[in-house]
């Protein structure tokens, strides 16, 4: 019986392993057949299942920072489901959040190898994305005096919530004229909508960047972001709190203390990749702290005003925005060989020799 179970487990592991690892999945199955003792075979099979799951996660992203972010996003959406179920939210809310998670993960899978395209056209792409935010403020759907939404296939999306983190991180990764223009357009867009939460997140992110890299372009971007945030504060924002979306940091505790804790824990998970990245990757600490500040800004806005609570509340835009922003997180560059450090202009990964690569990926 244990041997049958072991074979079933190792075959599941073989299915989970990516197609590029087919030889390894066959190796696990063949190796199991050579193990005489059923108990040892079962333990071996369980280990193979763990290895397959680990590989499946790493295929979603070759970088540990991004993989951790994906796990945190899945965890936050899961905790959000727990709250939504406890609060009696319609099933459609759970389905939409799940669909957004699936689409976001799919997007990461598709875009994770698009680095070359991004390097060639990143500035132009960022300007186009920022243009969507500006167009939304001019021609989007309005409610209670604010204009923040677009209807896409019958679903209301909040483009700024999806794109501001991506644009902010994109500017930090590759500051230049085009990416600065994208930030300026974004600032104008969120100021016109007005959207205090995203203007605040943009300003918080730029402040973090300016602290570490106070160059002229960054200071211009910071000034624009602060001006946009001030403009949103000067305008009336009478948006009412939407059930299951806004103010749930407080209302969830009224549902059940555990639901409240789930919401808090889910929100905290969103910051974990940035904290881990800042601790473990000194070279890219400004980027990780910028990621932290942007999402902390979004969470803080949700706590203070009627703004969407990211990932744990109902709404697909924040889920998409969070997952897409993970694409802008750099790979960890921990574990360099003693005495070696990256020269200016040297790629962050991928160009290292065998010894350096070994220390990067085999450590731990």
């Amino acid at each position: 019986m244990r041997r049958v179970l072991a074979m079933a487990i190792v075959r599941i592991a073989a299915i989970i392993l990516p197609a590029s690892h087919r030889d390894w999945s066959r190796a696990m199955v063949a190796e199991l057949a050579a193990i005489e003792r059923p108990g040892a075979a079962l333990a071996f099979a369980l280990g193979c299942l763990g290895a397959a799951l680990k590989q499946a996660v790493s295929v979603f992203s070759p970088t540990r920072g991004r993989a951790l972010g994906i796990l945190c996003a899945i965890g936050a959406v899961g905790l959000g489901w727990a709250y939504l179920i406890a609060a009696g939210a319609p099933l459609s809310h759970l389905v939409l959040n799940g669909a957004a998670l699936a689409i976001g993960l799919l997007a990461i899978g598709i875009l994770r190898d698009a680095g070359r395209i991004w390097r060639a056209m990143g500035g132009g792409i960022m300007v186009a994305l920022a243009g969507i935010i500006l167009l939304t403020s001019l021609f989007g759907i309005s409610a209670s005096g604010v204009t923040r939404w677009l209807a896409v296939g019958g679903v209301m999306l909040q483009p700024a919530l999806i794109l501001v983190p991506v644009i902010t991180l994109g500017f930090a990764r590759a500051p230049g004229r085009a990416s600065l223009l994208a930030v300026l357009i974004t600032a104008a867009g969120v100021a016109l909508q007005p959207d205090r939460a995203m203007a605040g997140a943009l300003a918080a992110g730029m402040a973090a960047l300016a602290f570490y890299r106070p160059g002229p372009a960054v200071l211009v971007a910071l000034a624009a972001a602060i001006a946009a945030f001030a403009a949103t504060l000067a305008q009336a924002d009478a948006s009412p709190a939407m059930p299951f979306v806004d103010q749930i940091f407080f209302s969830s505790f009224g549902v059940h203390p555990l639901a409240g804790l789930a919401v808090l824990a889910g929100a905290a998970l969103l910051l974990l990749p940035a904290i881990a990245g800042a601790r473990r990757d000194a070279d890219n600490r400004p980027i990780h702290l910028l990621f932290f500040m942007v999402w902390f800004g979004v969470i803080l806005a949700a706590a203070l005003g009627n703004h969407p609570t990211p990932l744990v509340g109902y709404g697909g835009s924040a889920i998409l925005g969070y997952l897409l922003s993970l694409l802008a997180l750099p790979p960890y560059v921990e574990g360099r060989i003693a005495g070696q450090s990256r020269a200016p202009g040297e790629p962050e990964s991928g160009a290292a020799g065998p010894d350096l690569r070994a220390s990067l990926t085999l450590a731990g």
């Binding site: 190796e31 574990g335 220390s359």
Partner: protein, 103 residues
């Protein structure tokens, strides 16, 4: 501002086992047993070592008739150099001596 981080003890142990085996091919379960390492740790490690050119893998006919071919592994020259440069700490299991719980 960069930190130094060496290979894990388990990676060093497996490298040492394989270096000690020389040109002999080793199997996954055998490495688990002799290195006292779980398969969930071993296989991702082997995959990375192979991907980075430190070991080669080959399908070899099973010793017992009727059994499927098994995946076998041995170090490349770069892998042997890596093993020499990163020996296991003193607490590592004795090379060649099966010990501990398999898998």
């Amino acid at each position: 501002m960069t930190r130094t981080r060496s290979l894990s003890q388990q990676t060093r142990t497996i490298l040492a086992l394989m270096a000690d085996a020389g040109s002999e091919w080793l199997h996954g379960y055998e490495l688990c047993r002799r290195g006292n390492i779980k398969s969930g740790t071993l296989y991702p490690m082997l995959m990375r070592l192979e991907q980075q050119g430190y070991l080669v893998a080959d399908w070899q006919a099973a010793a017992e008739p009727g059994r499927p071919p098994r995946h076998a592994y041995r170090l490349t020259a770069e892998g042997r150099a890596l093993a020499l440069a990163n020996p296991p700490a003193e607490a590592a299991p004795a090379l060649g001596a099966p010990s501990g719980t398999p898998a």
